[in-house]
Symmetry: C3
Subunit: 261 residues, 3 copies
């Protein structure tokens, strides 16, 4: 556990991210810290969840992933150490890691972090990233046994996430993430969509209907919207060298329907 990643909503290169990293190095100067992102939209747990789902699986085994998107900071909300077997999480108990439990995955162990001797001496009420998460991550990455952090727990908060509905006639879901290119990532799985690869389809997103299906962006004409399989193996709507979100006036939550014609 020498690689530690940080994911927060503190703002890109904000003073909070910088202070948190300092507190981590102060406990363990030999840790390798990777900023996954400090650009999570403030307090957005659903965004955090999809962000973690798209990134954590690609990291080496035994990486410790620290997440501080924490609207409940200072309240009674719990802080959890989660041993997922292949990797570890240090998260507020607010559901931000829900999708990592997809397909019946179960954590090996979940511990409520309470042992204050691994915290900073003085704990503010508004910045547990610096005062609790960072030093605890420092101690964990330096080899402290997670059992010393607190008691094991068997329940935790999970987010209620929208699920796609797939039938023989249509696939119905919604946009769950907009990337920095403006590509619209949906919750519709790729498999049923790919099964229809030889059938004419109609994809409706908001008020737009799209017939173009491509395997990659450059297969569409410049500026043309098209439906494809995302790098997350779900259905995506993109515009070749354009911004689909702006062009189609779509955002997280916009319904998407794919029908056989």
């Amino acid at each position: 556990m020498n690689l530690v990643t940080l994911t927060t909503d503190f703002g890109v290169q904000s003073m909070y991210a910088a202070a948190m990293k300092g507190a981590l190095f102060t406990v363990n100067p030999n840790v390798l810290v990777i900023d996954l992102s400090h650009a999570i939209p403030p307090q957005n747990l659903v965004y955090t969840n999809y962000f973690l789902h798209a990134t954590i699986p690609y990291y080496p085994k035994s990486t410790l992933h620290v997440v501080v998107v924490d609207p409940g900071v200072g309240s009674e909300r719990r802080i959890l150490f989660v041993d997922m077997g292949d990797y570890q999480l240090l998260v507020p108990d607010n559901g931000c890691w829900t999708s990592l439990l997809e397909h019946g995955v179960k954590p090996a162990r979940v511990i409520q972090v309470t042992e204050t001797k691994y915290f900073r001496d003085r704990i503010s009420n508004t910045f547990h990233g610096r005062d609790i998460f960072a030093p605890v991550a420092g101690h964990l990455s330096a080899g402290v046994d997670p059992q010393l952090l607190g008691e094991q727990v068997h329940d935790w908060i999970e987010l209620a996430l929208p699920h796609a509905v797939c039938t023989d006639q249509e696939l119905r879901g919604e946009v769950i993430f907009v990337d920095d290119f403006g590509n619209l990532l949906t919750n519709i799985p790729a498999d049923p969509f790919l099964e229809w690869h030889d059938k004419p389809l109609e994809t409706t997103i908001g008020t737009t209907t799209i017939e173009k299906r491509v395997s990659h962006y450059a297969d569409a004409a410049f500026g043309e919207p098209a439906v494809l399989v995302s790098s997350m193996n779900r259905v995506e709507i993109g515009v070749n060298q354009g911004n689909a979100a702006k062009q189609l006036h779509a955002d997280v939550g916009t319904p998407v329907q794919i029908k056989r014609r």
Copy 2:
């Protein structure tokens, strides 16, 4: 001195930040470089000052902190190496580190950096970050004795920063920093505010008056402004899961007054 941090106004992931880092690694490939921020608002020395004050104290001892917010680049302004005892600074002599001298702290030694043999061979007039600060930081982190950089000096520029006025009847200050959440950090110290924990208070910021006092954001109703103690141990005004700066039309310099009712 193997850990070096960078704080600049070059822009997040700008080519200047990237070039500067390259120049640093070229001198010392074994240095550990941490970007505190390249998102300092252009030429904003006051912002830089508070940013450094909120971050540097949390870093390990013996870290070298390099700051390039440098509107005077190419002019006669001096470049200073500051030995603060616990840590080191490499800064333009423009006052950007003023608050690190709070409470009568004195630097152990200040050296004006003039020895060109630690600079790049060719020095531009607009980019001393790459041509002077980076190579000097590389040499320092590789063990070069700071005495070799130039002569000791005993004066330097300090910023005139606004101070809060605290009496038995009121605390009067102003907003000195707005974080990425829109929280309003003031220069009013926490201690007199906390002494009034059992008294009804009225906080006026701009044209808004706030009575709500909380220990953490989630203690206020969703979207409700409230007064609390910041993680910097000063008075802060925030909105639970909202943006206080936008909601209260406040910014750096907005006066804040806390009165007993």
Copy 3:
């Protein structure tokens, strides 16, 4: 080749940048990864080219620079490993590295990357950064012989970039880059401009004419536009503590003409 830099248009701290880094560490946990930038404007090859030209030359020898600005991802566009002698590149074959070949520089060797055993097992059509570039960079930095990646090639795409025209009477070029301060970097070389250091000049940019020439920003009055030599050794137009791009309504492509009066 233990230092690897990343330059992409994925967005600052986007999930794609984070996933790509994970895929790299998974192959080689001992690599030192530096983000040059993930803030390249989407699909902008010309911007990428100047960005690389302003940064790569300052990095240590034997650094591997990975560039994923790749509008052709998933199509037949080739992926190239370029051995430049002093450093290495892993780039899509779209011309994004053209200016590194200035002044007749020739790569020592260019290899088309085709050997799938250095790729991830499953290759998406939209994210070769994670599925091809990252693992190939991981293997290269871990010591894999570039010859094993594929066959040598002797042709590649180069961008058609605008050149300045310099005569005894005038220097004529255009803005090629706007930095985060709003400074306007042109393609006019510094040398002929400096030769006229004792002659009165008139610089026209868009509809503005500027007579002020300075060696550094602070030499101009506050808010005054002036012409100077950039840190890239070309002519630059800046505003002391201001934003020249906004103030002069100029952008990439705006013509610039310098005439002797």
